[in-house]
Symmetry: C2
Subunit: 221 residues, 2 copies
């Protein structure tokens, strides 16, 4: 059977867009939210947008239960709280994909600037806070939520991944590769999240300046 | 007459590759070095590689004299010393293009890590140290020196630029656009150099992992 993917923060723009694209690729999706009703409402909307897809909704701690892969797609402001709440819900062997970006917008600053995170990056904070048996990788900082959600848009860009285990990155790469037009690229160990998380404000700055929805492509690969 | 470009550190890998590509595009190049003999030797080599090009070599402070655009392509270890030495040589109105990257390799650390720079980035340090009449932009952190130098290689990537003046960035964009296969992209104000300078260690990490010479392309533009 196909591995189930849970998206914590799946009612948000990035999470919902990922749910649609992965669901369309045949991946069973559980949308997690702090609020069970909102999660179920998002799952219903996703099912309408992707008629053949499998979408269910649940409160975050319940949602992660049966998932092989858990994508954390919440604002940085809520990342620490979410990880604390999920501490007893996450189970050994699960792959946690942190997509959090410490934008200064979290503290009423600019979305083209970031905050310094004591551990080095949001992903390294996730590594510190997740149970030790949970595997942590970092990715999905540069794909536009709006373009993911617009299923008529043909994606054509890269998803940069970092993590300390090749197997963990390969597992995520396999999942990402199922979405048409997205190419996974292994960028190195988890500490590279310090750099990957900076790509979001770069993309936002380019978007504002050129009135586009930019993404990243690595040339020469 | 064509504007003259001086490359401080033009005997280094990045500087020399830029000299070749710009020289082939018809731009008169002055190669600067701490050592006049090495600068002249590099100019001779450049002339052999690009027979139609205009290349001269001079000691750095003399080299910047007649140039409209000065590209600072030196290791971070030497950036501050170079800027101090050029303080009286740079003249009002010149455009200084800082290509410096504060790799941790400068202090015997890894080339996949960076140092924190007090001003925020090497480019902001250049802004602080250059005479106030000199305009400062930041660029050229992701183009492979080896691919620039290999004139048979067809480039196909972006050059990300940041700076506080649209006119300054447009002047550099015009210069970059003369090199076949390079597309200039305005990424915002000079403070974005904090992010652009992080792209070098990212590219290095990708290069090591995938045995390639990677570059960056912004999608959606």
């Amino acid at each position: 059977m196909d591995q189930q993917v849970c998206i914590v923060g799946g009612t948000g723009a990035l999470g919902f867009g990922l749910a649609l694209r992965l669901g369309r690729a045949g991946v069973p999706i559980v949308i997690g939210s702090r609020d069970e009703g909102r999660a179920q409402e998002a799952a219903t909307r996703a099912g309408q947008a992707v008629p053949g897809g499998s979408f269910t909704g649940a409160q975050n701690a319940a949602a992660v239960g049966g998932a092989e892969i858990v994508i954390l797609a919440v604002p940085f402001r809520n990342q620490s709280e979410n990880l604390a709440n999920l501490r007893t819900a996450l189970t050994d062997g699960q792959l946690l994909v942190d997509a959090t970006v410490p934008l200064a917008a979290a503290v009423s600053g600019k979305a083209t600037r970031t905050l310094g995170v004591w551990q080095g990056s949001a992903a390294q904070q996730a590594r510190e806070m997740a149970p030790s048996g949970v595997r942590v990788v970092s990715a999905l900082h540069t794909v536009s939520a709006a373009l993911l959600t617009d299923l008529d848009h043909a994606l054509d860009e890269d998803v940069l991944i970092c993590g300390d285990s090749r197997e963990d990155k390969a597992q995520l790469a396999e999942l990402i590769g199922r979405i048409d037009g997205l190419r996974p690229v292994d960028c190195g160990p988890l500490e590279m999240a310090r750099i990957l998380e900076q790509l979001t404000p770069l993309i936002i700055s380019i978007n504002v300046r050129h009135k586009v929805r930019a993404g990243i492509r690595i040339t020469g690969l």
